[in-house]
Protein backbone atom coordinates (compact mmCIF):
# COMPACT_ATOMS: atom_id res chain seq x y z
CA UNK A 1 0.00 0.00 0.00
CA UNK A 2 2.81 2.41 0.86
CA UNK A 3 4.26 1.88 -2.66
CA UNK A 4 1.25 3.51 -4.26
CA UNK A 5 0.91 6.45 -1.84
CA UNK A 6 2.96 8.81 -4.10
CA UNK A 7 0.73 7.83 -7.04
CA UNK A 8 -2.37 8.47 -4.93
CA UNK A 9 -0.96 11.90 -4.06
CA UNK A 10 -0.71 12.71 -7.79
CA UNK A 11 -4.31 11.54 -8.27
CA UNK A 12 -5.47 13.67 -5.33
CA UNK A 13 -3.77 16.79 -6.68
CA UNK A 14 -5.30 16.35 -10.13
CA UNK A 15 -8.76 15.62 -8.72
CA UNK A 16 -8.59 18.65 -6.42
CA UNK A 17 -7.57 21.03 -9.21
CA UNK A 18 -10.06 19.41 -11.60
CA UNK A 19 -12.94 19.65 -9.14
CA UNK A 20 -12.20 23.33 -8.49
CA UNK A 21 -12.38 23.92 -12.27
CA UNK A 22 -15.63 21.92 -12.57
CA UNK A 23 -17.34 23.66 -9.67
CA UNK A 24 -16.27 27.13 -10.76
CA UNK A 25 -17.31 26.39 -14.35
CA UNK A 26 -20.66 24.79 -13.53
CA UNK A 27 -21.73 27.58 -11.20
CA UNK A 28 -20.70 30.54 -13.33
CA UNK A 29 -23.78 32.32 -14.78
CA UNK A 30 -24.51 31.79 -18.43
CA UNK A 31 -23.30 34.43 -20.89
CA UNK A 32 -26.81 35.23 -22.09
CA UNK A 33 -27.60 36.79 -18.72
CA UNK A 34 -30.28 34.27 -17.82
CA UNK A 35 -30.66 33.31 -14.18
CA UNK A 36 -27.95 30.94 -13.02
CA UNK A 37 -30.44 28.19 -12.16
CA UNK A 38 -31.72 28.13 -15.72
CA UNK A 39 -30.66 25.10 -17.70
CA UNK A 40 -28.79 26.42 -20.72
CA UNK A 41 -27.96 22.98 -22.04
CA UNK A 42 -25.40 20.48 -20.81
CA UNK A 43 -23.30 20.74 -23.98
CA UNK A 44 -22.91 24.51 -23.60
CA UNK A 45 -21.91 24.03 -19.96
CA UNK A 46 -19.42 21.31 -20.86
CA UNK A 47 -17.67 23.50 -23.43
CA UNK A 48 -16.81 26.29 -20.98
CA UNK A 49 -13.01 26.82 -20.72
CA UNK A 50 -12.85 26.05 -16.99
CA UNK A 51 -14.67 22.77 -17.56
CA UNK A 52 -12.28 21.83 -20.38
CA UNK A 53 -9.27 22.54 -18.14
CA UNK A 54 -10.88 20.30 -15.55
CA UNK A 55 -11.07 17.53 -18.17
CA UNK A 56 -7.29 17.77 -18.75
CA UNK A 57 -6.61 17.33 -15.02
CA UNK A 58 -9.04 14.44 -15.06
CA UNK A 59 -7.18 12.67 -17.87
CA UNK A 60 -3.87 12.79 -15.94
CA UNK A 61 -5.71 11.54 -12.88
CA UNK A 62 -7.20 8.64 -14.84
CA UNK A 63 -3.84 7.46 -16.22
CA UNK A 64 -2.28 7.51 -12.74
CA UNK A 65 -5.35 5.87 -11.24
CA UNK A 66 -5.00 2.90 -13.63
CA UNK A 67 -1.50 2.33 -12.21
CA UNK A 68 -2.86 2.45 -8.66
CA UNK A 69 -5.63 -0.03 -9.50
CA UNK A 70 -3.07 -2.30 -11.14
CA UNK A 71 -1.26 -2.59 -7.80
CA UNK A 72 -3.85 -2.45 -5.00
CA UNK A 73 -7.50 -3.37 -4.29
CA UNK A 74 -10.20 -0.92 -5.41
CA UNK A 75 -11.82 -1.28 -1.98
CA UNK A 76 -8.65 0.03 -0.32
CA UNK A 77 -7.53 2.64 -2.85
CA UNK A 78 -10.91 4.32 -3.47
CA UNK A 79 -11.58 5.52 0.12
CA UNK A 80 -8.16 7.20 0.16
CA UNK A 81 -9.39 9.54 -2.56
CA UNK A 82 -11.54 11.16 0.17
CA UNK A 83 -8.35 12.93 1.23
CA UNK A 84 -9.39 15.23 -1.62
CA UNK A 85 -11.72 16.95 0.87
CA UNK A 86 -8.81 17.41 3.26
CA UNK A 87 -6.70 19.02 0.54
CA UNK A 88 -9.51 21.40 -0.46
CA UNK A 89 -10.06 22.42 3.17
CA UNK A 90 -6.35 22.95 3.79
CA UNK A 91 -6.07 24.88 0.52
CA UNK A 92 -9.01 27.16 1.29
CA UNK A 93 -7.61 27.85 4.76
CA UNK A 94 -3.98 28.48 3.80
CA UNK A 95 -4.02 29.73 0.19
CA UNK A 96 -7.39 31.49 0.10
CA UNK A 97 -7.21 32.57 3.74
CA UNK A 98 -10.78 31.41 4.45
CA UNK A 99 -11.85 30.85 8.03
CA UNK A 100 -12.60 27.17 8.56
CA UNK A 101 -15.05 26.23 11.32
CA UNK A 102 -13.92 23.91 14.10
CA UNK A 103 -16.58 21.44 12.98
CA UNK A 104 -14.93 21.20 9.55
CA UNK A 105 -11.49 20.61 11.07
CA UNK A 106 -13.08 17.77 13.08
CA UNK A 107 -14.41 16.34 9.81
CA UNK A 108 -10.95 16.62 8.26
CA UNK A 109 -9.49 14.80 11.27
CA UNK A 110 -12.07 12.00 10.89
CA UNK A 111 -11.21 11.54 7.22
CA UNK A 112 -7.49 11.44 7.99
CA UNK A 113 -8.09 8.84 10.72
CA UNK A 114 -10.19 6.81 8.27
CA UNK A 115 -7.50 7.04 5.58
CA UNK A 116 -4.80 5.92 8.03
CA UNK A 117 -6.99 2.98 9.12
CA UNK A 118 -7.25 1.85 5.49
CA UNK A 119 -3.85 2.86 4.14
CA UNK A 120 -1.79 1.96 7.20
CA UNK A 121 -2.02 -1.76 6.60
Amino acid sequence: MTRVLPLILICLTCVTLGQICFRAGARSPSSSGESAGEDDGLLATAMRPLILLGVVFFAVHLATWMLVLNRVDLGKAYPLMSLDYVMVTLGSATILGERVQRRRWLGVACIVVGAVLIGGN
Partner: protein, 143 residues
Amino acid sequence: MNSEPTKTAQTEPGSGAPPRRVPWTAWTLMAVSILLETGGQTCLKLGARAVQPGLSELETISQAAGSLWSLAGYACIALQFPVWLGVLKRMELSIAFPLGSLSQITILLASVFVLREGATVSQVAGIGAILFGSLLIVGDGAP
Protein backbone atom coordinates in the same frame (compact mmCIF):
# COMPACT_ATOMS: atom_id res chain seq x y z
CA MET B 1 -60.99 41.02 3.39
CA ASN B 2 -62.04 38.03 1.41
CA SER B 3 -61.81 35.11 3.80
CA GLU B 4 -62.17 32.56 1.07
CA PRO B 5 -58.87 31.27 -0.25
CA THR B 6 -58.30 32.59 -3.71
CA LYS B 7 -58.04 29.90 -6.31
CA THR B 8 -54.84 30.23 -8.22
CA ALA B 9 -53.68 28.64 -11.40
CA GLN B 10 -52.27 25.71 -9.40
CA THR B 11 -54.07 22.90 -11.16
CA GLU B 12 -51.31 20.32 -11.11
CA PRO B 13 -51.82 17.63 -8.49
CA GLY B 14 -49.12 17.50 -5.85
CA SER B 15 -47.70 20.89 -6.70
CA GLY B 16 -47.85 22.09 -3.09
CA ALA B 17 -44.11 21.66 -2.58
CA PRO B 18 -42.30 24.87 -1.63
CA PRO B 19 -40.34 26.22 -4.60
CA ARG B 20 -36.97 26.04 -2.83
CA ARG B 21 -37.08 22.28 -2.41
CA VAL B 22 -34.55 20.26 -4.30
CA PRO B 23 -36.32 18.99 -7.45
CA TRP B 24 -36.80 15.24 -7.82
CA THR B 25 -34.63 15.32 -10.93
CA ALA B 26 -31.68 16.26 -8.71
CA TRP B 27 -32.17 13.19 -6.48
CA THR B 28 -32.55 10.95 -9.52
CA LEU B 29 -29.43 12.39 -11.16
CA MET B 30 -27.53 11.92 -7.87
CA ALA B 31 -28.53 8.24 -7.69
CA VAL B 32 -27.56 7.73 -11.33
CA SER B 33 -24.23 9.46 -10.66
CA ILE B 34 -23.43 7.16 -7.71
CA LEU B 35 -24.34 4.06 -9.74
CA LEU B 36 -22.18 5.21 -12.68
CA GLU B 37 -19.28 5.95 -10.31
CA THR B 38 -19.52 2.46 -8.80
CA GLY B 39 -19.88 0.70 -12.15
CA GLY B 40 -17.10 2.79 -13.72
CA GLN B 41 -14.57 2.17 -10.94
CA THR B 42 -15.37 -1.55 -10.90
CA CYS B 43 -14.81 -1.76 -14.67
CA LEU B 44 -11.52 0.19 -14.39
CA LYS B 45 -10.32 -2.22 -11.71
CA LEU B 46 -11.18 -5.19 -13.95
CA GLY B 47 -9.29 -3.49 -16.77
CA ALA B 48 -6.23 -2.83 -14.58
CA ARG B 49 -6.35 -6.45 -13.41
CA ALA B 50 -6.08 -7.76 -16.98
CA VAL B 51 -2.56 -6.33 -17.38
CA GLN B 52 0.31 -8.83 -17.34
CA PRO B 53 2.71 -8.28 -14.41
CA GLY B 54 6.25 -6.96 -14.71
CA LEU B 55 5.61 -4.19 -17.24
CA SER B 56 6.92 -0.63 -16.94
CA GLU B 57 4.61 2.15 -15.73
CA LEU B 58 3.80 3.50 -19.19
CA GLU B 59 3.25 0.00 -20.63
CA THR B 60 0.94 -0.82 -17.72
CA ILE B 61 -1.06 2.35 -18.26
CA SER B 62 -1.41 1.82 -22.02
CA GLN B 63 -2.31 -1.86 -21.69
CA ALA B 64 -4.80 -1.23 -18.88
CA ALA B 65 -6.23 1.78 -20.66
CA GLY B 66 -6.90 -0.22 -23.82
CA SER B 67 -8.70 -3.20 -22.32
CA LEU B 68 -12.41 -3.70 -23.01
CA TRP B 69 -13.27 -3.39 -19.31
CA SER B 70 -11.55 -0.01 -19.16
CA LEU B 71 -13.51 1.17 -22.20
CA ALA B 72 -16.72 0.27 -20.36
CA GLY B 73 -15.35 2.17 -17.37
CA TYR B 74 -14.68 5.26 -19.48
CA ALA B 75 -18.23 5.07 -20.83
CA CYS B 76 -19.60 5.14 -17.27
CA ILE B 77 -17.31 8.05 -16.33
CA ALA B 78 -18.14 9.96 -19.52
CA LEU B 79 -21.84 9.52 -18.76
CA GLN B 80 -21.34 10.49 -15.13
CA PHE B 81 -19.68 13.77 -16.09
CA PRO B 82 -22.78 15.58 -17.49
CA VAL B 83 -24.96 13.87 -14.86
CA TRP B 84 -22.82 15.31 -12.04
CA LEU B 85 -22.87 18.76 -13.66
CA GLY B 86 -26.66 18.42 -13.72
CA VAL B 87 -26.66 17.59 -10.01
CA LEU B 88 -24.50 20.63 -9.17
CA LYS B 89 -26.88 22.86 -11.12
CA ARG B 90 -29.97 21.72 -9.23
CA MET B 91 -28.62 21.01 -5.77
CA GLU B 92 -26.59 22.98 -3.27
CA LEU B 93 -23.06 21.71 -2.88
CA SER B 94 -23.67 21.29 0.87
CA ILE B 95 -26.20 18.56 0.04
CA ALA B 96 -24.49 17.09 -3.01
CA PHE B 97 -21.11 16.78 -1.28
CA PRO B 98 -21.97 14.29 1.51
CA LEU B 99 -24.46 12.42 -0.69
CA GLY B 100 -21.70 11.78 -3.20
CA SER B 101 -19.76 10.08 -0.40
CA LEU B 102 -22.36 7.32 -0.45
CA SER B 103 -20.31 5.89 -3.31
CA GLN B 104 -17.87 4.79 -0.60
CA ILE B 105 -20.49 2.27 0.52
CA THR B 106 -21.54 1.11 -2.95
CA ILE B 107 -17.90 0.68 -4.01
CA LEU B 108 -17.14 -1.30 -0.84
CA LEU B 109 -20.06 -3.58 -1.77
CA ALA B 110 -18.76 -3.92 -5.34
CA SER B 111 -15.25 -4.58 -4.01
CA VAL B 112 -16.47 -7.45 -1.82
CA PHE B 113 -19.24 -9.00 -3.92
CA VAL B 114 -18.16 -8.31 -7.50
CA LEU B 115 -14.36 -8.06 -7.37
CA ARG B 116 -14.02 -10.56 -4.45
CA GLU B 117 -11.28 -8.44 -2.89
CA GLY B 118 -12.34 -9.16 0.68
CA ALA B 119 -12.67 -6.50 3.38
CA THR B 120 -10.85 -5.99 6.68
CA VAL B 121 -12.31 -4.61 9.90
CA SER B 122 -9.98 -1.61 9.82
CA GLN B 123 -11.01 -0.92 6.23
CA VAL B 124 -14.73 -0.82 7.08
CA ALA B 125 -14.01 1.28 10.19
CA GLY B 126 -11.94 3.64 8.04
CA ILE B 127 -14.78 4.06 5.53
CA GLY B 128 -17.15 4.77 8.45
CA ALA B 129 -14.80 7.48 9.75
CA ILE B 130 -14.55 8.98 6.25
CA LEU B 131 -18.34 9.11 5.85
CA PHE B 132 -18.73 10.74 9.28
CA GLY B 133 -15.98 13.21 8.44
CA SER B 134 -17.69 14.12 5.14
CA LEU B 135 -20.89 14.94 7.05
CA LEU B 136 -18.98 17.11 9.54
CA ILE B 137 -17.22 19.00 6.76
CA VAL B 138 -20.55 20.22 5.41
CA GLY B 139 -21.44 21.48 8.88
CA ASP B 140 -24.16 23.80 10.12
CA GLY B 141 -22.74 26.89 8.51
CA ALA B 142 -24.47 26.15 5.21
CA PRO B 143 -27.65 28.18 4.65
